[in-house]
Subunit: 144 residues, 4 copies
């Protein structure tokens, strides 16, 4: 994975099964995506000021083992695809100490204007496209 951060499981992330409610892991995907862009130097909130949004087109998650209240988890992501009008991410959520794998996931995002109309990102927001392309490239280099 290209970027990792630690999150503490909150009380309100759990349900009566005494573990994290499955849907909330997908929120963690969102958090790590956001922090990845910030850490790389171009926060998503700044991108939004350029009349740009990146709505989720699809998401998938496999729940391997449950995380519990107050557990420190490591949430990781990497870009797996960059196309003219969309991009994709992979995710992992693990126990921060033991590395036990809790969840894997994937999401696909479109590039749109604020009013959710698809845009050709490279033409409309060349700086954002260049930033994402550079991120994706540096990930590929790391893996070589």
């Amino acid at each position: 994975m290209a970027f990792s951060m630690n999150l503490r499981v909150q009380y309100y992330d759990t349900d009566k099964m005494m573990v994290v409610y499955h849907v909330n892991y997908i929120r963690y995907f969102h958090t790590v995506r956001t922090e990845y862009f910030r850490a790389a130097g171009y926060p998503y909130s700044d991108m939004e000021n350029e009349d740009f949004q990146m709505p989720v087109l699809s998401v998938a998650a496999d729940f391997k083992t449950p995380a519990v209240y107050d557990e420190l988890v490591t949430v990781s992501c990497k870009i797996t695809k960059l196309a003219p009008a969309s991009m994709e991410f992979d995710y992992e959520i693990r126990n921060a100490e033991t590395g036990e794998l809790h969840v894997t996931g994937h999401s696909r995002h479109g590039f749109t204007s604020r009013n959710l109309r698809p845009i050709p990102l490279k033409k409309k927001c060349p700086e954002i496209y260049a930033f994402i392309e550079e991120l994706y490239r540096s990930e590929s280099k790391e893996q070589e």
Copy 2:
């Protein structure tokens, strides 16, 4: 109370205490407020089209007894105050069958434009003000 509706407690409303997470009752307050306006003939979503919003200025709740997963609860509200720039509601949440009291609450709302600037409602949106005033008046009559 002036208006009541039934809601089913969802799995994701619970936490690892095996009962409804306290914050989620305050979401139920919001739901009943919305349905009260709709039932009375002027949905809040239509009000928003008039460059109007009603943000929550304060909220308070007393949690008496816990509601549990899959319980059918009756959520009720009434208007307790109408002023030129704000209004207030009382709430109750009860078991739908036994009437056992789970939660009581209160909220205060400001009248603003879409950009959250306070507005004198009676002047700016006279139809909305007339609607709310009529609701409040009919509540008072019922209680006589």
Copy 3:
């Protein structure tokens, strides 16, 4: 689809994109699953009293078009697979009036005891298994 219900999009289901936050559609999947079992005569909350749980093993969703605040949506599901230790569902979320397709989805569930240990459902909880098998069979008949 085998079962459908209407849900009203709540204010707290939206995010600053002015549409439903994608993760919340997956909560709707959970709601329709629950109501399907109830409508068919064996509520999930009763199943839990038999030392049974049905945790989500995986979930996937495709977000086609956004649903908006206060929209009435029809959420549907059907069972697509029943195995000795797991079952699967398909989902659809549509505008209740126009039928416009918002979201499709899929989930896979394991059969476990309350402490999340996998169980052979047919042997451990024959009544629950028979109920689900009958549901699945009657769905197949409808489609013929």
Copy 4:
């Protein structure tokens, strides 16, 4: 305030008013309470292992100014009362850089066993009581 931490406003904390949905600030209250106990040396998750819980009996919040997506906020709390069967907290949420006040709040908590029966904390869990009493005392000293 006795303890403060920074939190990043997440996308899913916002609603279509383009600011934080009011209910989510009350989740922040929970987070800071949890981290206060951890920082002081006795995590709440460890307390739960002693057959102890601290359910919320009441909560109140005043929403002064809205926090927005991606804003870094400072969430603070202090203990305002310790009684044999309950305790109370005050809260503040501010912009982390400017100090602008967004929200103030208050919560009251009961001391119970895991099955939510009230317990005399000092007798049943003397170590937890001593810990909380010491926290409360050291807060009072700081203020002198």
